[in-house]
């Protein structure tokens, strides 16, 4: 296990290095941030001074070297716009995004798993047709459109929930979250549901496919031959077997929830990472964009590793490479 983890960490470092190269060189092609930073009517001397101050007058490879040295000591540079360390800015925004993504994940499993299993157990039922029809909609309707519709229906027309923003937060067990106040929850419901819809549909389809596949296996028939109650068969025999692929996919998908919460955050003005990076891209705030992309890459690397370890815990047949036996 330890050897496996170590090897994966080494691979991750290489991936991160290559990614930083790509990100850094690509962002230099996008545009000149100095245009955004100075008043267009400034004197050429003024513009040159700004360029020098930010180190943008030097060749790309020198800039990259400086960035790399900084990165190794944990400094990803200062935001051009805010003048503060990119990492600190991201750290401020991260809890909001994490909260949104976690809520969406919880919603997608608690809603999607039972529906999917139900659909798999009763392939011909009316309920199944409705569930599967709904899941097709969930996968095909664009998130941004649905988000807007949800705002119109639940906030504007019905007036049940706030339109946008993050509500009051409070601290519980050392975690600052809006899930602990009523106002915070009211603000969280719409964006989290919006972000979760696609994943709900995905979990339904995975759970249904898994259920249909596993229920046809001999050990289910043997479990029935033992006289077990249907409830026990579903919970003790079906669930652990269909959870393996679902956990794998959701582990990776959690990364996409965080990385691509951008759209939902923009629509609901959720003050998270996504909104930070969208603003940074618009303003050509290079250090933020680079730091964000490297963060996303790291996130996926870590999640992949966690998924592999979870896999080994869920399925005793999987022994990680480098493990004994």
């Amino acid at each position: 296990m330890l050897a496996f983890v170590l090897r994966r960490v080494m691979q991750s470092v290489v991936v991160l290095f290559v990614m930083s190269l790509i990100v850094f060189s690509m962002i230099n092609l996008v545009g000149d941030p100095v245009d955004m930073l100075v008043n267009p009517e400034s004197l050429p001397e003024e513009i040159d001074r700004v360029r020098r101050d930010f180190g943008l007058d030097q060749p790309v490879h020198v800039q990259y070297w400086k960035f790399l040295m900084g990165a190794l000591s944990g400094d990803l540079g200062n935001s051009f716009i805010f003048g503060r360390p990119a990492l600190a800015l991201m750290a401020e925004r991260f809890p909001a995004t994490l909260e949104l993504a976690t809520s969406a994940l919880v919603i997608s499993v608690t809603v999607g798993l039972p529906l999917g299993v139900y659909a798999g157990l009763r392939p011909d039922g009316w309920g199944t047709r409705i569930i599967m029809g709904g899941s097709v909609l969930g996968i095909s309707i664009p998130t941004f459109w649905l988000g807007l519709m949800m705002i119109i229906v639940f906030s504007v027309v019905l007036g049940w929930l706030p339109v946008s923003g993050r509500g009051e937060t409070s601290r519980f067990l050392g975690i600052e979250s809006s899930a602990f106040t009523l106002d915070g929850l009211r603000h969280l419901v719409l964006p989290a549901t919006n972000l979760a819809l696609f994943k709900i549909a995905m979990v339904i389809r995975l759970a249904r496919a898994g259920t249909v596949e596993v229920m046809a296996l001999d050990f289910i028939r043997f479990a029935r031959a033992k006289g077990l109650a249907p409830r026990r068969i579903v919970l003790a025999h079906l669930m652990p077997n269909i959870l393996i692929p679902i956990v794998t996919v959701l582990g990776i998908e959690f990364g996409t929830l965080i990385a691509f919460a951008t759209v939902t955050e923009s629509i609901f003005a959720w003050p998270g990472l996504g909104k930070l990076v969208i603003d940074a891209i618009v303003n050509l705030d290079r250090p933020i964009v680079v730091a964000y992309l490297l963060f996303v890459v790291t996130l996926f690397l870590v999640l992949n590793l966690v998924v592999d370890i979870m896999y080994a815990l869920l399925d005793p047949r999987v022994r990680l490479q480098g493990d004994e036996t």
Partner: protein, 331 residues
């Protein structure tokens, strides 16, 4: 042995609805099994023997279902049972062992968990008490150091060990009847004969009746008191094992016996029955075996009734073979 019937099946018909219409995999089967009896059911793949076993367990899944007949278990007709009533019966009074031990156990549950739940499904006892029963059952089927084994997962066991576990599970609640569907087919020959011997001993010790389903007449001959030969969903011959093997009356039974390697002269080609099972969707009007039978005449185009050659030896054939004529007749 008192011949009180434990299981009595009359006119059982199990049909599967398909796009081509309804097909009867089991077609008018009558069977009787007494307490402590060992009945062998022999037939080719597709003859309906597995579906027969599943019908007795109430485990025929859609699109199949039992459409006619009566299955009386210990005097009660179980064909009208609700799912809850079945649950009380399955694994408790009737147990079933399936063909492939590698797939009968849940790969992600510990062996112990899978055994204990089989007891707790039927008896309200503590996990510790159940564990004790499980431990004894493991030892009974020849698994040493049960405590260690109970913590293991199925993939850590060999095929033979897994089948022993499955057999141990079947025996846990001391059922009146065990249905074993080719339980040794997936195992190699040495393990096969061990399991066979153990099963015979375990059933004798516990007084359970046993229905042993197999395509191998040789295996059945070793274990069964009585044999029923199945062909295309029907029982074509039934009788005491010794009697049936000594003088098979149905040409199909005779063909099965002749095609056993042990019965062929050394150095000659093995004998086989020409042709194959008729398709369920395209059954002959009369005797289903007629198209493959050397003795068939026009008279075989009407379905033959069951007739008795001697008391307890029944055959469904228009021209049953006579004593001693078996081996020469079919070539």
């Amino acid at each position: 042995m008192t011949r009180t019937d434990l299981l009595s099946i009359q006119g059982l018909r199990t049909e599967f609805s398909t796009p081509d219409g309804s097909l009867a995999a089991v077609n008018g089967v009558d069977l009787e099994v007494a307490r402590g009896d060992v009945l062998g059911i022999v037939g080719e793949s597709g003859s309906g023997k597995t579906v027969l076993g599943l019908s007795i367990m109430g485990l025929v899944d859609r699109p199949g279902r039992v459409t006619a007949g009566r299955i009386a278990f210990d005097g009660t007709d179980v064909t009208v049972f609700s799912e809850a009533q079945w649950q009380g019966l399955r694994g408790n009074r009737i147990a079933m062992i399936f063909q492939d031990p590698t797939t009968s156990l849940n790969p992600v549950q510990r062996i112990g968990t899978q055994m204990i739940e089989a007891i707790q499904a039927h008896r309200d006892i503590s996990s510790d008490a159940a564990r004790q029963i499980v431990r004894e059952a493991m030892v009974r089927v020849g698994i040493n150091s049960p405590d260690e084994r109970l913590e293991a997962y199925p993939h850590q066991f060999s095929g033979g060990m897994r089948q022993r576990v499955v057999i141990a599970i079947a025996l846990l609640n001391e059922p009146d009847l065990i249905i074993a569907d080719e339980p040794t087919t997936a195992l190699d020959v040495t393990v096969q004969s061990q399991i066979l011997r153990d099963m015979r001993r375990l059933c004798r010790d516990s007084g359970s009746a046993l229905i042993w389903i197999s395509h191998d007449l040789g295996v059945v001959a070793q274990i069964a008191h009585r044999v029923a030969v199945m062909y295309a969903g029907r029982i074509v011959e039934q009788g005491a094992t010794v009697e049936l093997l000594k003088s098979p009356s149905h040409p199909y039974t005779a063909g099965l016996m002749a095609s056993m390697p042990a019965n062929s002269p050394r150095g000659q080609r093995l004998i086989s029955i020409p042709g194959g099972l008729p398709q369920l969707s395209n059954m002959p009007r009369g005797c289903a075996f007629a198209p493959r039978c050397a003795r068939a005449t026009e008279a075989c185009e009407t379905p033959p009734d069951l007739s008795f050659t001697t008391p307890g030896h029944a055959v469904r054939c228009v021209f049953p073979l006579h004593v001693g004529a078996a081996l020469d007749e079919c070539d």
